[in-house]
Amino acid sequence: MKRCTWLKPCLWAAIAALLVCSLPAWAQGQTAAPSAPAAAPAPPPIAVDAPLNVSGPTADDLAAGDPSGTKTGTVNDVVHADPTKPLTLIDLVNQAGQNRIAINFTWTLVAGFLVMFMQAGFAIVETGLCRAKNANHTMMMNFMVYGFGLFAYWVCGFAIQMGGSAGATMLGGANPLNHEFAIHLMGHDWGLWGTKGFFLSGATYDVGVMVLFLFQMVFMDTALTIVTGAAAERWKYVAFCVSSVFLGAITYPMFANWAWGGGWLSKLGANYGLGAGYADFAGSGVVHSVGGLTALALAYIVGPRIGKYNRDGSSNAMPGHDMVIVLTGCFILAFGWFGFNPGSTLGASGALRISSIAVDTMLAGCTGSFGAVLYMWIKYGKPDASMSGNGLLAGLVAITAPSGYVNTMGATIIGFIAGLLVCVSVEYIDRVLRVDDPVGAISVHGTNGIWGVISVGLFADGTNGVKGLFYGDPTQLVAQLIGVATLLGFVFTVSYVANVAIHFIVGQRVSASDELEGLDIPEMGALCYPEFVLKPDTSHNGAAASIKAGLQVARETA
């Protein structure tokens, strides 16, 4: 066989050619692997004022109607800065900002309207728990406290409370509220009161400030209406007017400034390392404790109703005249609390925790009534209706401060303890202290308001910037306890001294004869229930003797 002698050199030549050709590719592979990606070219600058080429439904489309809703709320509805020119990116950005603030305005205003409606709940709860002969007087106190409080708050209360708060970012800043009077003491500034916003005049004629005013005003009025319950059935109406104006103008706004308006309590975290400073999300301390402690001061000054206590100091029950409106009022209050707590975010856009706050509020109210029913059932054999209502309110009061900071388990425990606490407190105040509180306002709002403040320092889970003792931060509890000490030492004493002064000027208590007759005619000039036959309650042992003694006092004073 003849061999191809020319084939072998050709093969070698081909292999060599392949090697030579592949060398550059191999060398390139060796050096290219670790190289960093090339920097992306800078994006072209966005022309925010360049016209956008977008179009919405035409006029003919819209004229045909929009049953499916797809043609409503389109680019056609975006506001143009200059209607004569096409839409630009800056128009869209402004519209987004406007929408966020509009959502927050709407949310806060609606929540404020709900809180305002709580006045009706308080009015009928208190009136139902009083006797029929005082119904007109009790309703009129609850009715007019709204007007007196609003006026006082507009004149100076709002400025003292929020005048140095620097507004709220959720409401667009409200920057005109920008000056806090503070003293420099012990190395720190101690903010005491705001100085902008008197009469809502000047720069505070501002849309954001108006929303803040409305929301804060209805909170303040809640505190005022608490007091009328504890002093009901013997409080002189003129004294009530003066006392309410003072509370709405001075006492409440001062403490509210310290807690919410940029005052010294809110700075305890920054100045002294005490957690996030005094934390009171929706006002267990600011609203309810202030109202409850003022109610205690008033109850001391006006004294118990004639017939409430016997000469040996034992207590007589004085049942209310209408349990239907009492429990209906409790439901109205529970409904209004959905404005009170979730509304305290001051917005929905950027504050989606409103859902968890609402659920916490529901749970604590329910477990509060569970606790009260359980206590009364075990101790007295029956689930008392008025204490069930007070248990619901106690749970709601207690969860008001921690609602923004606790989980559902914490809310449940807080509410249940509040339900037990209100029963114990009512008994202690009635039988041990012998302080007459016809509606249980001191226990519901004072005692459980303080419990709510303390519970923040225990149960706050750290999710929203506040962490309590059970989640590893004992310093928050210290801030809360300082808040409680301030409520007792400042709020109570200011309320007490002011009302003692009012007592000396106009007198706080009606005459004994008026009280025995019922305050509707002597104080209001008309009966609430003209067709009712009103008579003294002599169904309880000792009450008749006390009423006779009261009549004797009435004759002497007459």
Binding site: G303, Y309, L481, L488
Partner: protein, 60 residues
């Protein structure tokens, strides 16, 4: 007695506030807070209430 009650209630408030600069210990601050609250409660529920009970309508 009413004046003493009012002054003592104020003292119970100022005690933990002033103590903020005296110690940085959380335990000590907590103790002083509880002490201050106790003093205020004693003043309000003890002294002031007792003073008002003396002139209570049911004792007359």
């Amino acid at each position: 007695m009413k004046l003493v009650g009012v002054l003592l209630a104020i003292f119970g408030w100022l005690l933990p506030v002033i103590a903020l600069n005296m110690t940085s210990s959380t335990g000590a601050r907590t103790f002083l807070c509880i002490l201050g609250i106790g003093i205020s409660l004693f003043a309000i529920l003890g002294l002031l209430n007792k003073a008002h009970q003396k002139e209570a309508v049911w004792k007359q």
